[in-house]
Every structure is written in C-alpha cells, then in structure tokens.
C-alpha cells in the first residue's frame, strides 16, 4: 500500500475528494475527541478528461429512503442478477437491460476505477443555456465603453443556441426586447419599486402564453423566450448594436450626489424574469455594476456623496442603516434564484465599495461568480470575464448549471452539513445528522453554478456507538450524487462513491494519526472559521479558532482577510470569503498562506519562507496570494534595473533574471480565475505593502537588531511574529493539557 500522501493524492485525482481523516474512528466518542471532525473537501466537477460519460441512466437502490446508485462497492450476485446496496443492504434486481451481466461482462459502474462515473440522462428536452446580462449604465464613459466591448465580445463566445437577454439600469431599469426590427424596444421599470414575479410577469406581458400552456412548462417556454431571451445566433447583430448604443444613464446627477442606481430592482427583475420564463433551467444572471445601489430596495447607501458608504466601523456601531434591509432584499433574491436553479454573478468594478457585503449571498447561494476590480477598463476584469467562457477540450463551457448534490452515507456515519456555494434543499433522510455544521439538516444541496474547481466542504459525524463495534474490515462509505445540467444542455449525473476504513482509536491510533490530512483539515477548519465569522461576532471566532491547534496555517489564517477585517472594507472581506469558500484545496491554501518564490543569481528559483527574512536586496520575489501576483525587486536589483543594466548585452543574464518571475507570473495569471491583481513593485515602492503585510514579521522595528542578522527587511508592525505566536501557543497547549 502506498503512503498516505500518495493515497490522498490519488483519491483527490480520481474522485475530487479529500478527507481530513482517511481512517475513521469507529465511534462517536472517539471521533469527538479528535477535535477535527471527519470531513471532506469535495469537488463535484473535478475535471476528468479521461472519464467518458455513460449514455444511460444509473441504477438505483429500490429502497425509497435510500435510492443509492449502483457502485463498485456493491456486492453483486451475477447469477441471480441481484445486487446488494452497500448503504442500506437492500437487495435489488438488475433492470432488464442488465440481463447480459456477468463477472466478465460488467457495466462500467461496477469497475473499481469508476468510483466516479458520469451518466447522461436521455430523457427530457435539451435546455438551452440562458445568459441574462444586467448592466449598470451609471459609470464613466470609458468604463461603459470597455464593458460594452467585453459584452459584445462575449456574444461571440456563446454557443449559437444559447439564449441571451439584456437588462440595463441606472435610475430606471430597462428590460430590452430583442430581435425587434426597425425599432428597439424595452420595458422600463422604476428603480424604486420592487415587483414580485407575478406583477413582473404581467407587466412584461408574459402571462398569456403561460396561461395557455398549462402543464407543459417546457414546451411553452420556448415561445416565452422570444421577446426578452433570444438565441444568440438570431439576434447577434441586433444585440451588438443595442449594446453599442447603450448610453450612460442620461438623468442628471447634481453636484455632491451619487448617480441613482437601481441595482436592487434590476436584479429583482432579472430574477423574476427568469423565474417566470425558465424555472429549473440553468441560467446565468451576469450583473455588471459600477457602484453601489443608491435607491430603491437593496440600496446600500444614499445618493448624498457626503455620506460615505458603510465601513466595518459603522457596522460594529450599528450605524449602517441600509445594510440589514438590503441584505434581506438580496437574500430573498438569492433564495428565489437558487430555488429555480439560476446563477447570479456579480462583476463589481469600482474604486469604492459597491455593496458586495449585502449582495454576497447572491453569488454565494447560487454558485455565481463574484469579481471585484477597480474598473471595467482593466485587464483584470476583461480577462476574468473572458475566462468565464473558457471551454474544455470538448468545446463545452467549463460550467454547469442547476446542480443538486446528494450525499449518501453508511449507517455509522451521517452528514452534518456543507460549507460552500450551495443552499439546502431541506431533504431529510436517514443519513442526516442532527448536529449541524454549516448548511446542515439536509442531505441534498442545490448548487446552481458549478465549475470544475468549485469545492464544497462537507462535514460528517460518526454516529456509531462505542459499544457497537464495527465488524473487522468494515468500511464506511459515502456516495456523492451530483445531478446537473451540462453546458451542452444535457442533464447529467455524476456519482462518486468512496469508502474509508474504520479504526478503533484505542488500538489503532497510530494509523488514524497517520491518515490525517493536514492540508485538508486546515482548509476545512478555515472554512468553518470563516463560516462562523460570517455568522458570528469576529472575536468569538478567533477565540474559537485559538482553541484549535493547527500550527502554521492558523497563524496566517488569523492574519488573513478571511477573519481579519482590519484594513479591509466590508466588500473586500465578502469578496475574499466568497472566493475562499468555493476554491479547491490548493487555491485555498495559497489564499491562507501565500506562496513566495525567490529569484536570484544564487541559483534557480526557489520557494522561500513567507517571512520578512526572505526579503533580501539581491532577490526578486514573486508572491502569489491568489488575489494578487506580486513581483518584488529587492533594493539592489531595483537599483540595477534603474541603471538599465538589463539593456546592456553584457548583462543579459540580468535581463533573464528580471524576466523569469514575469514569465512565471504570466503563467499563473493565465490559469487563475478570477484574474489576480498583478503588481510589479520594488523595494520601497508603495505597493510593496502588499508583500510586507503578508510575510511573517520575524523582524520588526522592535527586534531587528536583537537577532543580529543582516538579512531580511524589518516590518513596521505591532503584529506578533510567528515565533511569538508559537511560543504562546506552546504555553497554552501545556497549560490547557494540565
């Protein structure tokens, strides 16, 4: 047997699953003592180019409360054509189509290498993808122009059959009717009045078709789509022109005022429009905003410029008068959208805050993207947006829609909850734990938007009683059933079945300890911490976290923007947390503990400690914090560069040195979503602060001479260094043990 790290990597590679413990304690009591719960990071759509989808539907356990999918862990009686469910032990007959089954003729789902398998549902019509652009027009002409171009560009990236729609807003909200000849039509709504779906339906004149269609929503939806949501191939030109003619919101903005921006209503209308035309069909609402909502439901700040948008300080003082109401508004929108399987993306490009704090749930509940940039006229936005439409080798979008994730467990273990871009479907079942962690109380979650990197944290509870030993060699199994709408329009089901050994903590503590996945556990705990930070008071979370004992990560986690709001606006915090909650393990690790590479003449590029001592004058540092890619030229290097040595043929090596981190950064930039902020700075540069704020302040103005070293750069901070932190931790650990 391979080492645990290899096993873990293999499992992750094959199933997209990483457990905090890879051998499970066999009783509740023992599991509780282990502090870090049995939990998993699960990436439902882990990219598996080698995995061909199967063109039939899965075989399900016939027990109504189980409905688990036939998998390699099931026992099969080839002669009787029976199989036993490994979750409920129900014996099931194979369906007629499996008549030819035998030991040598096994269906794919029984082969061990297909512990993750994907079925294609053949029934039902293929649904088109729906993209609804919701565009703010209250922005500078430059920004608007850039945005328009991006949008026009995106049209060419959409599959010809995809339906697109356009809603623009400013002081008013306009729903554009597409495909009109000779005259462009739009429905206009006041930005101050929220409308429920029914009202909206009437006002958009969408009632009659639906009334006639009666029961067959799908057949009738086609005609419905005709006015506001049209196939790209049909209205490509029309929409391009329409976008081209978009004007900045014409209503005058007087001195000292913010433009009136009806974001809340615009989103509400977008949600409502899809709700009444394409319920339960994959759809993306892509919202582009250039500032905060300033009127109507969902407003986060008044239009008086003299009143700044809420800060953490205001929130703590309970001085953010619009926040609660706005949050409630967006939450209800998010819930409506997720109920119907619709994604809400938010692309917020503004120098100031735009209200992401209030709107975060829209993206978080629906699996939508949240992108924050300074302007639409930046490559950050442009490339990020372009990357939304990235395609895989088959030419399909790397996105999936309207997914539901169902978790089935062996009897000894139950699921407590999930943390990630999902909402509960409130499906009670035998495998639902009473103990809730994150979004719990259910064994099914809705994930409206999925991409290959979307990762959920799932927390389990071992419920086996101490006095009910598990039979030797028994394994705990967990099955993840993800049904989703593929970007080709197909309905697909991906089933991942995984199992881990049970171990008696008293006798096999060693193996349990060895099976601990430190990285996964760190992220799982961090998610939990962030989840708590979102829902509870900050200091409490830190205190809670402090009681957990995870070394290095914890130090950085404490300092990270996920928990630390100092120096971050509420919007930024929301943004960082959003990303943290959906990215996979690797990326999450980077977010917590940025990666630092050093380039120098002393040798090939090497990773170095995220420590102030790594900052040396003759080095070029490349830091990747996930959100930022930063290249830092040490003092000497910067001087060389300034002197222009890189342009001299005899110093070509210096040129190469300078180029190396840039190339590496480009590589990172090209794969990362969302695009990180790219920073090129040097010693003493203002933007060097990004680096300085991340590194471990092992040398500060307080102690730099105490260490007596020449290397490194002192950091002007009062933050404790890792050393101090560790010392303190040790003390605590001892004292608490006592």
């Amino acid at each position: 047997m391979a080492t645990f790290p290899e096993y873990i990597a293999q499992n992750e590679e094959r199933d997209g699953v990483r457990f905090s413990w890879n051998v499970w304690p066999s009783s509740r009591l023992e599991a509780t003592r282990m502090v870090v719960p049995v939990a998993a990071l699960f990436t439902p759509l882990k990219e598996r180019p080698d995995l061909p989808p199967i063109q039939y539907e899965p075989v399900l356990c016939s027990r109504a409360t189980c409905r688990a999918v036939l998998n390699p862990l099931c026992q099969v009686d080839y002669r009787a054509k029976l199989w036993a469910c490994n979750f409920c032990y129900q014996r099931n007959q194979f369906p007629p189509s499996y008549a030819g089954i035998s030991e040598v003729n096994q269906p794919a789902e029984l082969l061990p290498q297909f512990s993750t398998i994907e079925y294609v549902v053949q029934r039902g019509p293929q649904m088109p993808l729906v993209f609804l652009y919701v565009v703010d027009t209250c922005m500078e002409d430059e920004d608007l122009q850039a945005l328009k171009e991006s949008l026009q560009m995106s049209l060419s990236l959409l599959p010809p059959t995809a339906l697109v729609g356009l809603i623009t807003f400013g002081r008013m909200v306009q729903v554009h009717e597409l495909g009109c000849e000779g005259i462009s039509k739009s429905y206009v709504f006041r930005g101050t009045k929220d409308l429920n779906a029914k009202q909206l339906q009437e006002m958009l004149g969408l009632t009659k078709p639906s009334a006639t269609q009666g029961r067959g929503p799908q057949t009738a939806q086609q005609p419905l789509s005709n006015r506001f949501l049209q196939p790209v191939q049909k209205i490509d030109m029309n929409l391009t022109d329409l976008l081209g003619e978009l004007q900045r919101d014409p209503w005058p903005v007087t001195q000292g005022k913010r433009p009136l921006r009806s974001l809340g209503v615009a989103m509400s209308i977008a949600v409502g429009l899809l709700e009444c035309t394409f319920p339960n069909t994959g759809a993306r609402i892509m919202t582009f905003i250039g500032g905060p909502a300033t009127q109507g439901p969902g407003m986060v700040v008044g239009d008086e410029l003299k009143t700044p948008i809420r800060s953490w300080h205001d929130i703590e003082k309970d001085n953010a008068k619009f926040m609660k109401k706005a949050t409630k508004h967006y939450e209800s929108l998010a819930n409506r959208a997720s109920t119907n399987g619709h994604i809400i993306d938010i692309y917020a490009c503004a120098l100031d805050q735009t209200g992401l704090l209030e709107m975060k749930c829209c993206a978080n509940y629906t699996g939508g993207y949240m992108v924050m940039a300074d302007s639409f006229n930046t490559s950050l936005f442009k490339q990020t947006f372009q990357r939304v439409f990235t395609k895989d080798v088959q030419g399909s979008f790397k996105m999936a829609f309207a997914a539901t994730l169902e978790v089935k467990t062996s009897r000894e273990i139950k699921v407590s909850g999930a943390i990630g871009p999902c909402v509960s479907l409130n499906a009670k079942g035998p495998c639902v734990s009473e103990n809730e962690i994150g979004t719990g109380g259910t064994c099914q979650w809705k994930i409206c938007g999925l991409d290959p990197s979307t990762t959920l944290a799932l927390y389990f509870e071992v419920v086996n009683q101490h006095n009910a030993p598990i039979p030797q060699g028994g394994r705990g199994a967990i099955q993840f059933v993800t049904q989703y709408q593929h970007s080709s329009g197909q309905r697909r089901i991906r089933v991942t079945t995984t199992a881990r050994n049970w171990a008696d903590a008293q006798t096999q503590i060693q193996s349990i300890a060895a099976s601990f996945d430190q990285e996964a556990a760190a992220i799982l705990m961090a998610r939990l911490a962030v989840y708590r930070a979102e829902t509870e008071e900050g200091p409490d979370v830190l205190r809670w976290l402090d009681r957990q004992l995870i070394r290095l990560f914890m130090f950085h986690l404490r300092r990270s923007p996920f928990l630390q709001v100092f120096n971050n606006s509420p919007d930024e915090s929301s943004y960082y947390r959003h990303q943290f909650n959906r990215q996979d393990l690797t990326q999450a690790l980077i977010m917590i503990q940025p990666v630092l590479y050093a380039y120098s003449f002393n040798g090939p590029p090497e990773p170095v400690l995220l420590d102030s001592s790594s900052i040396l004058p003759d080095r070029i540092l490349l830091m990747d914090t996930f959100f930022q890619i930063l290249i830092y030229h040490g003092e000497t290097v910067a001087q060389w560069r300034k002197a222009g040595y890189q342009d001299m043929p005899e110093y070509e090596n210096f040129k190469h040195l300078l180029q190396a981190p840039v190339d590496d950064a480009q590589e990172l930039l090209h794969t990362r979503f969302p695009m990180p902020r790219y920073i090129d700075t040097e010693h003493g540069g203002s933007q060097a602060r990004f680096l300085l704020s991340k590194v471990n302040p092992s040398q500060t103005h307080n102690n730099m001479y105490a260490w007596g070293q020449e290397s490194g750069a002192p950091i002007l901070t009062d933050d404790v260094s890792l050393q101090v932190f560790m010392d303190h931790l040790k003390k605590l650990a001892v004292s608490s043990a006592a």
């Binding site: 008013m172 000779g182 005259i183 739009s186 206009v188 009045k193 014409p250």
Partner: protein
Amino acid sequence: MNVNQHTPMASPYGQPQPGYSQPGYAPLDGGYPAPYAPYNGPASAYQPGAPPQGPARGPPASGPPPVSAPQPYNQYSHSQGDMQNGPPTMTQAPPRPAASQPYNPGAMNLSGPHPSYPQHYGPPSTIQQVTNQMTGMQIASGPPTPAGPGYAPPHSSQPPVSTAYSAAPPPSYTQAIPPVSSAPTQPPPPSGPATSQQYYGGPPPSSQQPFNSSLPPTSQQQFTSSAPPPPSSQQTFPPTSYSGPVPPPSQAPAPPVSQSQQSFPPTQPPFSSAPPPVSQPAFLSGPPPPVQGSFPPRAPPPSSHQYPGPMPPQQQPPLSQPSPYHSGPPPPRAQMPPTSMPQSNHLPPGPQGPPGPPGPLQQPPPQPGMQGGYPPQQNGAFGQVRGPQPGYAGPYPGQPNYGAPAPAPAPAPPAQKRLDPDAIPSPQASDMPAVQKSRHRIDPDAIPSPIQVIEDDKAKSTEPFTTGVRGQAPPLVTTNFQVKDQGNASPRFIRCTAYNMPCTADMAKQSQVPLAAVIKPLATLPPDETPPYVVDHGEGGPIRCNRCKAYMCPYMQFIEGGRRFQCGFCSCVTEVPPHYFQHLDHTGKRVDCYDRPELSLGSYEFLATVDYCKNNKLPQPPAFVFLIDVSYNAVKSGMVSIVCQELKTLLDYLPRENPEMDSVVRVGFVTYNKVLHFYNVKSSLAQPQMLVVSDVSDMFVPLLDGFLVNVNESRLVIESLLDQIPEMFADTRETETVFGPVIQAGLEALKAADCAGKLFVFHTSLPIAEAPGKLKNREDKKLIGTDKEKSLFQPQVGFYNNLAKECVAQGCCVDLFLFPNQYVDVATLGVVPVSTGGSVYKYTYFQAQSDQERFLNDLRRDIQKPVGFDAVMRVRTSTGIRATDFYGSFFMSNTTDVELAGLDCDKAITVEFKHDDKLSEETGALMQCAMLYTSCSGQRRLRIHNMAVNCCSQLADLYRNCETDTIINFFSKYAFRGILNNPTKAVRDTLVNQCAQILACYRKNCASPSSAGQLILPECMKLLPVYLNCVLKSDVLLPGADVSLDDRAYLRQLISCMDVAETHVFFYPRLLPLMKLESGSLPVAVRDSEERLSKGGVYLLETGLHLFLWVGASAQQELLLNIFGTQSFSQIDPSMTSLPVLDNPFSQRLREIIDSFRAQRSRYMKLMVVKQEDRAELIFRHFLVEDKSASGGASYVDFLCHMHKEIRQLLS
C-alpha cells in the same frame, strides 16, 4: 339734418351716437373711413349730448354707427322726429336718406321718406317713449324711426345711444331713437339683405356693399314686391320672412290697400295713438328715457333694419323697392312701427290680441301719425297690437323674402296674427310685444324672429366698430364687422351682457339681468385688424397701480404734471417711475399717449419679467406630447394609422410666432394600451427606441434625453417611428386601456423637461385596465330625470381632479380626442382637459373612411392654432363690482385667479360680476382682464384687455343696452354647470324663472302701461325667449331617448368654453336656403322650423358642430344636378360626406360656402346629406329648434306663451 340729428343723436346715444349720426351719414356716403373718424367724435358727442355737440361729434361718430342701422332708424326717426320734435324730424329726415342710401346723408335727406317716416316714426319717437311703455318693441321701433333719420347712422352705434338716451333728455331721445330706427331702416335695405348674405358669405363691410347690390335682391326684392304691390308680394313673402313684416309695415301703411297693410296700419295706429301721448309725456318726464332706452337699443335698429332693408329700397328708387317705399313710405313706416312694436315682444295673450286689434285699429288711424300709433302698439301691442299686426304679418310677408318658401300665409296670418306678430317682426321696435291671443292661433311669423334681428344688425353694421366709446354695444356676433381699437377691448375679446350696468346692487337684483362678460383673451383677429402690440416696460416690469395692481391702461389718469397717476380702478395714486415719465398736454393727456399702446388701446401685451415666471426662471419653450391609444379598437378603426400618417406632415406646422422661423415647440410620442410605450427619437439614433412602462400604478417617465425633441433635428427618426407604430400594433389583441397613467406620463415628461406644454391624447375606450383612474361603466338610463342624474355628470372618481390640479401646476394642457364605440364616461375623462384649458373632441363610431376628414381637420387646427401656456388670468374691476364667478375650461385654486394650463384662441371664459358697492354713472364700470402666459415661443407675457361700460340708474337704460347672445352664453354655461349639483329640472326652472323675472321687471318698470295680456319684450331681449328655449331643450338639459350620457357630458363641457358666436349658432343653428346662390353673398337664412322648409328646396344647416344638407323630396332636378350630379332624388347617396366636385357655378359656390362655414368654426363640421323623409331626417329635425322637439321640448310659440304666462304671474 346733421345738426338736428347730431344734437339728438348725441344726446340720445351718448357721445358716440352724435358722432355717428352726423358724421356717419356724411361719411357713410363718403366712405367708412369718415365714419370712423367720427367715432371719436361721437364719443365726445355723446357725452355732451347737447345738439351742438352733436353736430361736431356727429360727423365723426355718425359715420360709423349710422352705417346700416342708423339709416333704418332714420326713417323711423323721421317719422318720430317729425312727430315729436320739429327739429328732430328734420334730423330724422336726413337720416332716412341715409337709410335709403345708408351712407349718403344727402340721399337721405332727399328721399321723401321723411314725410313718410314722420308718420310712422314720428309717432314712434313719441311712441318710443311711449312705446317703451307699450313694449320694448314698439318703443324700439318708434324711437329708432324718429331718431332714425338723423340718428340712424349713429344708432348703429346704438348702444351708446341707449345710454345716451337715458342720460339725455327727451330731445336726445327722439334723436337718438330716430337714429336707431333710421339706422335700421337704412341699413336693412341695403345691408339687410346684404347682411344676411354677408353673414353667410363674407365680412360685414363687404356685405354692406353687397347689400346694395346683392342684398337688395333678396330682401329688397321681397320688399319691393311686397311693398309696392303690397298685397301680392306680401302674400308671397309675408309668410316666409318676418322682415317682410317690417317692410310690409311700411308698405302696409302705404298699401293700406293690401290686406296685410291694412291690418298693420290698424295695429300701429292704435299704438301710435294711445302711446303717443303717453310716450311723449314719458319722454319728457322720466319715463321717456326708459322708453327711449328701449328704443334706442338695438332692437329697434334691427327691426328698423329689416324694415329699412325694405325701406331703403324704397328710398333708393333704383331698387324696385324704392318706389314702394317712396310711395308708401310714410304709410309703411307707420305700419312699420307697429310691426316693430309687436315684434318686440308683445305676444299678448291670444285673446287679448283680438281685442287689442280693435283698439289698435282705432289707433291705427292715429298711426298714420305714426307716433301715436306706435306707442300704443308697444304697450298693448302684443295683445291688441297684434291684431293689427296681422297687418304686419302682411308686412312680414314682405320679409318672407327670407323664408320665401315659408307659407305665404301673409295674408291669412296677418289677420290672425295681426296683433303683434307683425309688430314683433318689426325688429325696429325695440320692445317686441309678442302677443299671442290664442296660442294656437299664433302665427310664427308674428313673433320675434332671430333671422330678422340678425339681418337688421348686419344691415346697420356697415362701418368699422370703434371701441372708443364707453358702453357702446357692438354689432351682433352674426354680423361681420371690423373693429378699431380706441381704448376698449374689441368685442372679439370681450363681450358683455350689459353695456350699461345698474349702479346699484338693488337695481341689478331687481332686473335679474346677469352681469357678465365673455372673455376670449387670445381670440384670433381678422387679417385687417392689428394684433395686440407688445409693450416692454423694461427690467422693472409693467407699470402697475400700487394698490390694486392693475396694469397701466388708458383709464389711468396722470396728474401732477405727469409725475403720478391715479388708478381708474381703485383711485390710488402711484408715482410714475422716472423712465416712464412724460409731460402732459393741455388736456391732461400724456404727450406720448398715442405712441404707447397701453395708454391708447384696449388690448395690448406686456413683456413679463422674470418676476412673473415660475421659480423666477424664464420659461422653456413649451412641448407637445402625442399620446396614442394602440389598443385593438384604435388600430382597427384606422385611427392609429391616420394619426401617425398625419403627424408626419403636421409636425411642420407647430405653432410659432414668426412664420419665418421654425417652431421651438418640442414634441414627444407615447403609445399605450394597458401599458405605455415611450419613444426615444433622439436625432443621434439610427432608429427610434421604444420604452415600455408597464408599471402603470405609479407612473414615471422612463427617459429624459430624446423624448422631447426638435422636429427638424429628429425628423428621420420621427418619421421612422410614425411609419412603424401602425405596423407594430397591427396585430394587437389588447382591448383594455388605461387613461390616468397616460396623462400622468405626459405630465411627468413635462415636469422632467421643466416646461409647459400640451398633451394630445387619442383615446378609444373606457379605461378598465387596472391602474389609477380606472373606471367602470355607470351609464344608467334609469337615472335620467331623477335627482341622481346629476351624479352622472360628475366625475366617477376623484383621481382626475387631483391629476388636473397637478397638470395645472405644471402648465400641462390636455386635449383629448375620443373615438368611442360605447360608453367611455366623458364626464370623467373630460375632467382633466376641461380643468387645464384643453378641448375634448369626440368621434363616436369612428370610421376611417367617413370620419377621417373631420378628425384630421380638427387635429390640424388644434395643433396649429395659437395657444398660450401656463396662464393665470385675473379680472380686475373698478370699485363697486367684483368678478365673482367664472365659467370655462380652467382651474381655480382661489377665488380670483383663473389658472389655465393652456389657452387657445378658441377658448372663452365667462365672468360674472356682482355688486359690492355702488357704481357711479360718471365713471362707469371698468374691467381689466390681465392674462399672464407663456407664448408658444416660450416668452412670458401679459395680455391686457380693458373694457369700460356705462352705469345707469334707470332700468330702461339697462334694458336698452343688453346683448341677448351674451346673456344666452352666460345662461347656458350657468345652467350646464348647475346640473352638476342640481336636478336638471330644477335648473331648467331656474332659467325660466330668471328669464321671466327679467322680462317682468322690464314690463313693470320700463314698458308703458298696457293690458296685462300683452307680452312686451325689450327690444334688446326680444329673442331671449326663443334662444332660452333652445338652451332649455338642448340635449344637455332635455335629453332625447337616443342621446347618450357621453354626448350630454361632451356637450356640457364643450359649451363651457364657447364664445358668444359659437353658443349662438349652436343653440340657434343657421339654416340657409340654397335655391339660389350668388357669389359674394349668402342667401338669407330662414328660421329653424320645418315650416320654413320647402319640399322643392335644398337647405344647408350648420350648428358649429354639425353641417346638414337637407334635400327636399321634390327638389328641382336642375338643382340636384348642380349639386350632386344626378337628377334623381333617389340616387343621392345619403352617406356622402363631401359633395362631388362639379364644374358648375352652383356647385362651386355651394362648396365655397361650406368651406367658409368650416373655416369659421373652431371644429370641422362633417357634412351630412339628409334626404327628406329619410331616417336621418330625425337627426336633422332635432336642430329645427323652433319646432317641438322629439324629446318634449316646447316649440317657440308654445314657449313664448309659457313665458308670457310666467311673466303675468309675476306681474300679478
């Protein structure tokens, strides 16, 4: 003559007259201009009243006034004059000549008429005085005649005359009177006929001339025929026209031979005899004045006119008539008076009539003496007089000319109706005694004839009307005349019910005559009159009185060498700002008086400063927003495509002040059904953008930039839009509409653009879609006639009232075009248009093919017509009276300011005045209507109209200077508003009561004692009963079974902003016989009664809203061929809406006439061809207002009897 006349004239008429009479004549002959000049003189003359003055003034004044009326009077006056005053007669005599030759004084003199006049009129004068007693009619006639000769001319100006009379002593009266009568006589002949024609055809002036030529034909001919061969001619004519009567009278006298004549003479005689004595004394004493007053009043003139008409002919030998007149002049006149008398009013109860006659008859003998004869007539005229009148009838027969076709009853009627009928007809008699002995037997020809009055007035109004004279009544609205502004507003801007206001509230209350003015601030003037000048007083704004804030006007008296001025309204003294200082001349006038419109004219405009603007900001140019219903019905009826098509061209004709420049008015477009579609037509767009607002519960404007655009800049986009709208909605299945949000949308658009403007809403159906202002169908025929009926005229919901308020605040005027196929609740939908100074147009069952023309013409006119926005009107009056009530399309948030979101050139506002103190006869009563508005070029201006009227302490003066048309305008608006709060029946009763009180008061205080059975009407008001009856039986107050609630509400609102001319023709439609058409003149109208229609004829009837062509079943083939291009009656297609274009003079002329009618009215009239005995004839008959109506409305005769009964009850 002149002298005599002058003196008399002057005194009688007041200043004006004198001038008129003397100058008038001379001028007349010479030319109109002269007359005008005289006017000024006249004014002065009037004041002096003294003979001497007269002469001086006379010349000027006489010129104009004399014109037509004067002459007729002259004739009468002559008679009177002769009778009464030696001198007067003289004067009179001259007048007559004038009469005969309206303008030529010389002619007048020459004409032997004098003698004749004397007879007739001579008595009249006395009679007049007496007559007053007798009845307005007689008096009227009487006075006129006497004064006539000399005065006649002046009389035309009469109004003043009357006033003058009151003021002036007897002599003046006589004179005055004469003028009147003379005037009438003279004018009539020439003008009379002419006038009638003119009416139809062209302007007054022309008419006069035409009269001579053309007119004569009709009236003259008749007269002539009748006159000379009284019997024969009369027979034929008599029946038809009343005018005939007049002439007849004259003829009659002479003709005594003829039956009719005989009859007349008798009547007159009686009058004359009895009255004479009375009258004279009366004159001398206080009484006379009243009488005179009555005489002088127009009534006489008119009557005289009619007569005159005939008369002139007589005088004017050239014409056929002349001879008759000459020969019989005297006699005729004698008769005339009688006739006039009777006409006036006396409709003695039938029974009395007969008896009366005898008396009269006896009197008749006296009549010869005219004077004597008249008086009696007046008094008893009605009853008895009529007896004699029959004779008149004869004369009328002469009139028949008018209604030639009318049953020639002349002969027969005469006998029966003798009494007053005839007398009545004689318009001359100011007092119209309409005596009806036995109602059943009353001859329609014997009661006052509107046609006669109209024709008489036309005949006498041959000269421009100058406004310089205080209290001078203008010609009737049916008369074409030119106006010269000399210090008072033109009657086109302001018309008053009374030009002689009672001095005290008691008097006003006693008389019950409403004191009101109908103001049409932006009235369009004919091309030959100068529009108001714009005055700029610089940065300080217009100069105003410190206390009452009245604007600088001719009534401000400069004192202290010009350093201060005293306000004519409140007497407060205000410093003259240095930049406005000017020295005074020796008369106390500013040296620059004639250089400054505000010091010398009645109407002018001030440029307003920023202080007069909303938010102290100069206004933006206004905008027009077109809101088009695109629901199923609208599209299917073709309305949408028609509107869109038309707008493409129409947008080039938006109102502008400088024809050379493009209009600055911006336009915007909205279509709607259940939701609203706004359009962005910004010039930079390649194609229009449609913005749908479906949230109608809380309306807003979805766009700012690009909604309101300049037509020229966005032409391509607009055209593209207008092309597409019909296509876009061609397949719509939406049947529900909203309405409230539509107006809100327009309002919000104007608010957003911060400008005033106008909304044109094209709407089809009851707004039942869920939205503010949603309505339900509440038409319930069962409520009609109950106390709850009033609720049907009130808006269903309060929403629109509030909306209207908002619209007014923004200066958003709403014009509503309705295309209903069923009940749409006009009462509610019309609230906003009516409150914002807008109009409602209704095209029930609109069909593109047949209604397109009417709709498009209305639309074109509505868009192009001059209009002002965001207006506030205030009427200031001199101390003693106060404007208390306002009627029209506007909104008032307090009791004094009339707020008009928009006001166009066709809208009139009726203002009622009440006393709050005493008025003085010296200063008269002043009113100043100031309207602050934004012109269509976005300029803020103040339009000022000043008006001064006389004040009187004698009721007779009041009754002599009233204008019935204006009174009817007021009554109708008063009643139509009354039904909002009172049961319809109560409103009708109120009207009848008030009318009865007015007439009873006259009878009691102004008419000479006579038998109670005699109906005596003031000359000025002799048509009050007939017109009032028309009001009472209008669809609004007395609906027929087939009249929808919407129609009633529509009419109700429509009337509320009509001016006098419109109400006149609306209530008493114009009915033209078309048997013979001549270029340049119109045929004389006939009375609105089926009796007047000849089976063999073709008639044109217009009401201002409808236009009918009635074809008699046995119309001549040639006629049909000329008109329709077919000889067969049965082949005429009754569904045609325009006549075939045929290349024959008749067809051309007829189409010209129709076109000219349409051009005169603010709304396009669709032509309906009605074939006799066709089903459509029912509709047509509805407009024959003298007949019983299908809905139960009384016939004229019946109503007159009823009125008489009421009066008698009041008197007893």
